[in-house]
Amino acid sequence: MAPRVELVASGRREPDQVSSSAPASVPVPVVVELSLAELLVLSEQSGGARLPLDLASFLEPDSDDGEDLLEQRLDGATPSPRQRARTQLRAAVDEARERPEPSTARLVEAGLLDHAGTPTRGVVSALSLLAAPEALLVLDLAVTRGRGEDRLRSWFAVAGSHVAQLSTASGLVVELSWYDVGGLPAALARAATVDEGPGAKDHGAGVGSPLRLPFELFSDGTEAVRRGRPDILAELVRLAPPATWVAGEEVAPERVGALVANLEEAVSGRLRVLVTTPEAEGDAGRRKAGVVSWLRLGGGWRSLVPLVREGVPLVEITAVTPRDLARSVGPVLAQVL
């Protein structure tokens, strides 16, 4: 086993005082599920802390609720998804603004507000962190599982060694959590974990790993598959540089088309993490942002790594697990921070 040594300090903050005398104290992680109304009440009670969710356009006075209602009446009794969404949002906002008592009571019961309605220190700090992070990781995930596309958005706000995370899959229900930065790899893994249900298989296993292929086959070749045009796919394969490899073995040209088709047919979702920090500057003084991109094949994830070899843009597609997300994000952080 690889040696791992933990030198623990006494909680002192100055680098010169790093020592190995006593266990460090790190905050216990807190994870809580809130309704949008409860989150808005918390934000309001914390001095109007800015949230990454942007309700500004929805709340504009000239918001087109009236137009929606007219449209709904003209259309008949079945509201559109947008109309249903706006109705739900309106109810949540009204609950937070006009009738906050039930939300407040639940927040007191949960220990997030004291009996005077004042947010606890941890809540204020977490919302402060979400409002003004030193670094921000934005995770988006979308998967198709039969009935439609499910989506998750998570904001990971980091300052010092603290993380505050806000996540939602609908905008109406959120999970707010805060924890030490040491908990971030596990939190990223949890965000990348998708329940496929009992008996689900990683159908993407049919696509070998790592698969390295020219970027134009990844972009154009899969598009030809989506359009049902094997003739165009064959032409693209003929034109592409011979640079397709699976598990270190070069793929014969006559097998490349089938490989691209298998890849496209197995795709069931995508994940992306954007890494930003306001102080990051790249080459020539430009601002810098990092990107991690994964693709879901069947029931399993594949990391996507852009490479250039001998002038040819390539994509390397490698089987990964949710725990590997931190390994993908780490190098980006090193480049951005």
């Binding site: 500004a56 060694s161 080459d283 993908s328």
Partner: protein, 474 residues
Amino acid sequence: MSDETLSVTGGAAGIEAGYTDISLLATLLDEAGDDLRHDAWHDKALALNADLLESSILSPRTFVEAEGAVVAATVGPKGLALRAVGLEADALSIQVAVALLRGSDELTMQAMEALDYSLGHLLGGALPFLGLAGLAGGTTLLLSNPALAAYLAAHPELADEALADVQGFLEDHPDLVQHLLNGGGGLMDGLLGTLPPAVRTALLLEVGLAPFHGTTNDAAGDLAGLFGDTDVVVRPGEGPAPDFDAPGSLEDLLQDLGETNRGVDGRIDIQVVGEGDQARYIVHLPGTDSWGDDPGDARDLTANLQLVSGQDTAYTRGITEAMAAADIPPGAPVMLVGHSQGGMAAAHLAADAGFQSTYDVRHVVTAGAPTAQVGHVASGTQVLSLENSGDLVPLTDGEDNPDQPNRTTVVFDGRTGSIGENHSMDTYRAGGAAVDASDDPSIGHVLGSMRDDGFLGGNSRVQTQSFVITRDTP
């Protein structure tokens, strides 16, 4: 103000108009290809009509020639049909290119939004940062957490203890702290609720989230802006080389690396300890916050933003060029010391068979560098990785670094109030001092081998050369 006084060039609308034109052109090309393909088969059918077929009886040889010519001109390997597919392939490539540009622009806008959002930090933030704390006494809250509830259901003997003092209970059960974050299945599935996907999608749009779909072409759009690897130029550093002494300790090594780090962007230092056959080479590799000479992309939307994927190999290639320029003899004993990206580069080089066959890489020291993604390192190389438990960059979680006996990870607690300080060379130099002072046997073994190999603790003559690595952009 009249319209004549306004002059607008570029901008999102201008670019979008260009995309639309290109897409239209591709559609025309596609239709032309479609028509051509149709015509090829139609012409073949027309050409091989009844009159021609009847002529085969009268002149079979001429018929064969005529038939061959018709087939060649229509559906043969250089015929119309194939050219039609070629046209359609071109059309598809143009359409995909436009989609990729749109995807890349969308990603850039998302990144700019995130950057602008986090600018609140530089402006002082909306609220005072008080320091996070767990909720002592928040029993109800913690018990409402499905992961904890499941854990306690599986361990009923712990329930009373938990109810009595949650904070103390969790501190006494660190496995449960991880369980709180790991447990309960995936995050998304717990938040979906009962609304149909279409309504959830509409809700997310209403709360300001841009559309995000799980398709290959969307993923390709993310990648399109990330092929930024460039050639490099390596030149000798200007001015006097740093006056390093032979390092006596890990702290000394990291102090020297800090000195390199304070130099110009892209500078690395190569220190020669001893002479002749006894020469040892220490390569100091700082992080690369900002280096190179990239003039930037001319397109307006991306001109102020550089997207990176963490996969840039330009720095690593520059290091090998600099080592060659320093005339380090093949097979010479080498130590690589790197911080952040420099540590990543050092670990990658140690795992590279070609690099290992050129030099005798005895030791690698990384500070604040993610190294878990680096594969197998040759057994003759000792890797010592220092990680500040409060540093975001290595993303320490206690299990990630590969399981090799020659890779030792030391985690120390050097928490400060900021990400930058947690990741700074000063913090890692202090961590190095703590490692020097440790009596841990694993640490003792690694530091002992550095001394035995002549990299630490000698009084030999030291010479240092500096090199500067810059990008060679067209």
